[in-house]
């Protein structure tokens, strides 16, 4: 059987979701942001909630998420997305409100907004893309940067003594009663992508059930920031980030694992 005989509409088993626009993604080649965007929107499509979903993306490489995600989107100030999400879920209790935040955004300048939205148990989904660096601004150290890791503001490697240890946000906020579902995922292989997508689906379903905070951390590469090619960066991520930020569920149905 010839390829041309296979490539027929009726045989198509995978295509890009209609919840993503046709705009080319502005991300570097191989950047996990793209995959994270796509699976989040695939979930929105599968749940059929595209018309009731409101997304909030603060500054960060994903600041242009509104160009790519085919739902109503708000661009938020650095670190404040959880505050916006709080207000929206309070004034529109039946909408699906999610934030899409980087680690610099959520764990540095946005620490207070993150902790308090989680503590209040706002009925929202927080998608937290942790690439251990500030990608957008050119690769500065993030609160999640690994010990010894080189960035433009830790050019000789992160020193724990003076710069502190990488913060495990998921573990931290899992201690707060307001969080209902906290999990850490990755998106660099098909296996991880499938798992991550399941987690995101669970998160949006929790919103439907008004369960409070669903927090999905997604470990991702930043080939530009890490100064590696995408393949190497994914390997580096597995070898270095996974041990420090173990994948898996941290809190499920309000119960710590």
């Amino acid at each position: 059987m010839e390829v041309i005989d296979i490539i027929k509409p009726e045989n198509q088993v995978f295509a890009k979701t209609c919840m993503m626009t046709d705009t080319d993604l502005s991300y570097c080649p191989g950047c996990g942001h793209g995959t994270a965007h796509n699976i989040a929107m695939e979930v929105v499509e599968e749940l059929g909630i595209g018309e009731d979903t409101i997304g909030i993306a603060p500054v960060g490489c994903s600041v242009l998420a509104y160009d790519f995600m085919n739902v109503d989107m708000i661009q938020a100030a650095h670190g404040r997305a959880p505050a916006l999400a709080t207000a929206i879920s309070r004034t529109w209790p039946d909408k699906y409100v999610f934030t899409y935040q980087g680690d610099g955004d959520l764990a540095a300048i946005g620490t207070a907004e993150t902790i308090h939205a989680c503590n209040r148990g706002e009925n929202i989904v927080i998608l937290f893309v942790n690439n251990g660096i500030y990608g957008m601004t050119g690769g500065q150290m993030a609160p999640t940067t690994l010990p010894g890791m080189r960035t433009s503001t830790s050019p000789y490697g992160r020193e724990i003594d003076t710069m502190g240890s990488p913060i495990k946000m998921s573990e931290l906020i899992a201690n707060l009663p307001g969080t209902y579902y906290v999990t850490r995922q990755a998106v660099h292989t098909h296996k991880h992508v499938r798992k991550a997508k399941k987690a995101i689906k669970k998160a949006f379903e929790n919103t439907r059930l008004k369960k409070g905070i669903s927090f999905v951390e997604i470990l991702s590469n930043c080939s530009s920031g890490w100064k590696m090619n995408p393949i190497d960066s994914n390997v580096w991520m597995e070898e270095n980030m996974f041990p420090y930020f173990p994948l898996g569920d941290i809190k499920v149905n309000g119960e710590l694992k």
């Binding site: 390829v3 005989d5 080649p29 191989g30 793209g34 995408p230 994914n234």
Partner: protein, 74 residues
């Protein structure tokens, strides 16, 4: 168990040549073109069509969703 045969179509202009689709293809169906696209990237293509089983692994790891997958059961 029925044999399945697959095929992929890569959108050359969307592809950024990141190559993350290659390692997830157990059957090494995908290679990178020598030419570059308008963005200046070497794009992926189906170098070994017969081996493709349409598992979609490559497509779901593609950050730019440049791959669409087709499958038939023979």
């Amino acid at each position: 168990m029925a044999k399945v045969k697959g095929a992929i179509v890569v959108d050359n202009e969307t592809c950024k040549g990141c190559e993350v689709c290659m390692p997830v293809c157990k059957d090494n169906v995908i290679s990178m073109s020598t030419e570059v696209n308008r963005k200046g990237y070497h794009y992926a293509y189906m170098s070994n069509p017969d081996a493709c089983n349409g598992c979609t692994n490559c497509a779901i790891v593609c950050p730019d969703r440049a791959i669409s997958v087709y499958r038939v059961t023979l």
